[in-house]
Amino acid sequence: MLILFGGIGLVTILSIVKGGADIERHEGGGLKAFSPEDFPEIEWNDPSIDEPGAAGLDGTTEAFKVAPPPFSEDIFPCSECHADMEPDVERRVLEDMHDDIVLDHGPKERWCFDCHNADNRDRLRLANGTLIGFDESYRLCGQCHGTIFRDWRQGIHGRRVGYWNGAKSYLLCANCHNPHAPKFKPIKPLPPPVRPEFLGNQ
């Protein structure tokens, strides 16, 4: 009998010790509770939508708003610099300006003038020669990415903000994807939930 109780006691102690080891193993996450307030850099609510009138969005109008193209500061209009420059259509590594652009978009042969227009830099150029504004860039992207363009117009691809039964704002492809290197870069995830066994220790 004594041996039996001793055995049970030992198992209990062992399992407690093992539980301690579990904590070590859990170091990846789930030990501490985080709140949205711990991440002030994230805009949890788009404040422009909270005041429907202010953003021109409310449940009554059918207007769709498309976000403006995400230009870097002071970069547009392009003609400000390019108007006085002779277009150089030679493929080359850019050195003086735009050297931060790394092309990683489809085949290696991709080049500025596949999309940008040589004679008027303030416009983009479709494959058939039509010139379009930067605010219509989705037409350019849609030339190759037809199925995604179709989904985007239906609201299935990309994020919409606003009213499910009324006005909503769209984003341009370039608002989320860098057009020169469109594949999403990985990001840091927000922390995991607290494991139940640590809920009481907070």
Partner: protein, 303 residues
């Protein structure tokens, strides 16, 4: 049926009023710090059976209570379901990157307890090689960066079942399905027995084990009585598709925060809606279909 139920409620009310209102009020006030209005609410009837006038009074009562507690104006609405609307949700698991922005946006919007922590959305990480395997999934992943090459992610919250086991097991009918398909909880009527939690096959219901901690400057002041109004210790809560937003036409908070646009929402009765389009055009599935709970939460692959 309504008559019978009413009868019982009157009996209950009379019994409580007659037998021990004073004692109960004192005790409740002393031990839980609840106001007398809260005690009155406890003695009142179920939300679903209140007359419009009584609802009005209850909302004012709650607003006064909360505004005092948080030191700023808190609105409590009881916006009813719209006609010809049944809400449905779509989630593109070919896009989800497991970043958990939705989890925390939900906490912010819906006034969940920060401590003990309650999350209405749980993102499950699974291995691409193995496919969907809930038993082997991991909700506690925490790598430097997501998505990881080997993984895909499946966020799970209330599936808003048409055939909802949670509402069926509630012994006091404190939870039910609204006309627009949202499964809601009457926090004032919930007795905290947690039968619904054990009935839910998706782990979507959460219990307030302790007095919820909700910092004054973190509270979302725009609330719905059946949704994100501040809760109390001892009640169950869950996702309501952001009832306070969607009944006013807005998208749920989780869908607006999603950085990859994986979350879609709309009216299942409207053929032109986003949700109906994706159900028509994409490969769609529901979780644990074999249980015949008939969720209104659809996972899909856009690619």
């Amino acid at each position: 049926m309504g008559k019978g139920v009413n009868h019982r409620d009157v009996d209950r009310r009379h019994f409580l009023r007659g037998a021990g209102l004073a004692t109960m009020a004192t005790m409740a006030t002393r031990f839980s710090g609840a106001s007398t209005e809260a005690v009155e609410r406890f003695l009142a009837t179920r939300f679903a059976e209140l007359s419009p006038k009584e609802v009005e009074a209850l909302l004012e009562d709650l607003e006064r209570d909360f505004s005092r507690r948080f030191g700023k104006e808190i609105s409590v609405e009881a916006t009813p379901a719209m006609d010809d609307v049944v809400f449905g949700y779509g989630l593109d698991i070919s896009r989800c990157i497991g970043c958990r922005r939705c989890v925390y946006a939900c906490v912010k919007e819906n006034n969940q307890s920060r401590n003990p922590q309650i999350h209405w959305i749980r993102v499950l990480e699974m291995e691409k090689e193995k496919g969907i395997d809930l038993a082997e999934s991991n909700a506690y992943y925490d790598p430097e960066q997501v998505p990881e090459e080997k993984s895909f992610y499946l966020p799970v919250a209330c599936q808003q079942c048409r055939n909802s086991p949670c509402t069926r097991v509630c012994p006091v009918k404190a939870t039910w399905q609204e006309k627009d398909g949202i499964v809601v909880i009457d926090y004032d009527w919930c007795i905290g027995c947690r039968c619904c939690m054990s009935a839910c096959p998706y782990g979507a219901r959460h219990f307030n084990w302790a007095e919820p901690e909700l910092p004054v400057d973190a509270v979302n002041a725009k609330t719905h009585i059946l949704g994100n109004r501040p809760r109390m210790k001892g009640v169950v809560e869950k996702c309501t598709f952001c009832i306070q937003r969607v009944r006013n036409g807005r998208y749920p908070a989780c869908s607006e925060i999603c950085p990859v646009g994986a979350r879609k929402f709309g009216n299942l009765l409207d053929e032109e809606s986003e949700i109906r389009y994706l159900m028509r055009e994409k490969r769609v599935f529901v979780l644990k279909e074999e249980l015949a709970t008939k969720p209104k939460f659809y996972y899909f692959y856009a690619t």
